[in-house]
């Protein structure tokens, strides 16, 4: 039994580490609207640069769930939480600072072309009783870094570091 477990472990860890090193050697893409590269692998790290949807980043290093990467677009290097990134290529939004792009639109997934602003616009036209006013307003609620820091310090809370599954 122990031998089977040992063999299984070796096979899995070997292929896992292989997969990880491949992922680390490559580029990754920002899959959220906007996020920051930071000086440290934590949210209390100061902001080095802002990266946006579809920016390609060169991966340098990984520490828990944080990736150290460089952004050729704004010539900066810093740490970003892995949940902001995907290994897929994404097409920049038209009119965004990182458009136009050499990414082939043929690489886009169906979902990427799927539920977007255009679909919401169509939904709102057909469902006028559904009011998006407060949805837009709640998205505008932002907490400044200064507000957050004083809230944490006063409440004797630890600055969040971004979790690792």
């Amino acid at each position: 039994m122990k031998r089977i477990i040992a063999i299984l472990l070796i096979v899995i860890t070997t292929s896992l580490s292989g997969a990880l090193s491949v992922a680390l050697a490559g580029d990754m893409t920002v899959q959220v609207n906007k996020t920051h590269l930071r000086s440290m692998p934590a949210y209390y790290g100061s902001v080095v640069a802002t990266v946006i949807y579809a920016d390609r980043l060169h991966v340098i290093e990984k520490k828990k769930s944080w990736i150290k990467a460089s952004s050729p677009r704004n010539n900066a290097t810093g740490w970003v939480h892995i949940s902001a990134l995907t290994s897929k290529k994404l097409a920049p939004k038209s009119g965004a600072v990182n458009a136009p792009t050499s990414v082939s639109t043929g690489e886009l997934s169906a979902a990427e072309k799927g539920f977007t602003e255009e679909i919401e616009r169509d939904y709102r036209q057909k469902n006028r009783a559904v009011d998006f006013t407060w949805v837009d307003r709640m998205e505008e609620i932002t907490i400044s870094p200064r507000q957050s820091a004083s809230f944490l310090a006063e409440g004797r809370l630890r600055p969040p570091e971004g979790g690792t599954p």
Binding site: V32, S109, A111, V130, I143, S148, P160
Partner: protein
């Protein structure tokens, strides 16, 4: 030791398989075998199966942007049923706690971040829409007597988003149907027929989640998983994980069989209390500084 070793192997196997198409099936079989042979409890096996099912749904590759637009429409629909509680101090306070907790979760980054609003209703209820839009009722806030207990409510909702429970409610054929609408042809703007078809799939997708989120509730096991994940998130920032127990006890005393909201969609607080005990035993306790009670009272008294 043997159990630990086997659990580790199983966990590694699941992690490894998470890149495979067959993740759900194989991991579920593995979990069943481990449970049947007594290596892990049936509850642990169920939790593994739920996680891998959610993960395999996530691998159907709805992007964070898709999640965002789905979540916006769900939130707009919920906000046609409930009024927003307009109290700027209370809303800011809930966002301060919520955004702190979100950044301590395993999914701190969503397409446009986490945002919180209070619903103006005595009903005990909360909703976490995919993408990070979270609504909490005055009635639920009424079950909290201090900041740590309010944090436990918000951490539970963030956990639903981290664990992908909303997106997992989408019927599995939706993504494939969406793929068929677009085919291989790439159009910058959708043609009339394409748009109509994609819009119809969007309606169905929103409907799938609304059914679970608003009407029927998630599976009980998903609620227990969200409670356990909430405990982890609370600990990471220094909130007292046992505040979840206190909040559930107060909810138990307030929630009647006719209450609606959590009374319809969630397992009873008593059942939830039973399921968090083991996680709380391991988590220790934190003495809450008085400032967290003082600032809660200052903002939330009268809400």
């Amino acid at each position: 030791m043997r159990t630990l070793l086997l659990s580790s192997v199983l966990a590694l196997l699941i992690l490894y398989l998470s890149g495979c198409q067959t993740v759900s099936t194989i991991a579920n079989v593995g979990a069943d075998i481990a449970a049947a042979t007594g290596q892990i409890s049936t509850e642990q096996a169920a939790s593994i199966k739920r996680s891998t099912t959610a993960a395999s749904h996530a691998f159907e590759r709805f992007t964070p942007e898709n999640e965002y637009y789905i979540g916006r429409t769900i939130t707009a629909n919920i906000l046609t049923r409930y009024r927003v509680y307009r109290n700027e101090d209370a809303t800011t306070y809930v966002n301060l706690i919520g955004q702190t907790l979100a950044r301590a979760s395993d999914k701190p980054e969503t397409f446009k971040g986490y945002h919180f609003l209070i619903l103006d209703t005595d009903e005990i209820n909360a909703f976490a829409a995919p993408g990070g839009l979270i609504l909490v009722s005055r009635g639920l806030i009424g079950c909290c007597t201090n900041e740590d207990e309010l944090a436990s409510v918000l951490a539970h909702e963030i956990a639903h988003i981290q664990l992908g429970h909303g997106m997992a409610a989408i019927r599995s054929g939706r993504y494939t149907s969406l793929g068929r609408v677009f085919g291989v042809e790439v159009a910058k703007n959708l043609g009339g027929e394409q748009l109509a078809k994609a819009a119809s799939i969007f309606d169905d997708t929103v409907g799938d989640i609304m059914k679970k989120l608003v009407d029927r509730g998630y599976q009980s096991g998903q609620e227990y998983d969200a409670d356990r994940t909430a405990i982890t998130i609370l600990k990471r920032v220094g909130y007292n994980p046992r505040a979840l127990r206190e909040m559930l006890r107060q909810m138990d005393s307030r929630l009647g069989p006719e209450s609606g909201g959590f009374g319809t969609t969630h397992p009873t607080p008593k059942k939830r209390l039973k399921h968090i005990e083991s996680a709380l035993e391991d988590s220790g306790s934190v003495v809450m500084p008085s400032v967290r009670k003082i600032r809660f009272d200052r903002v939330m008294t009268g809400v």
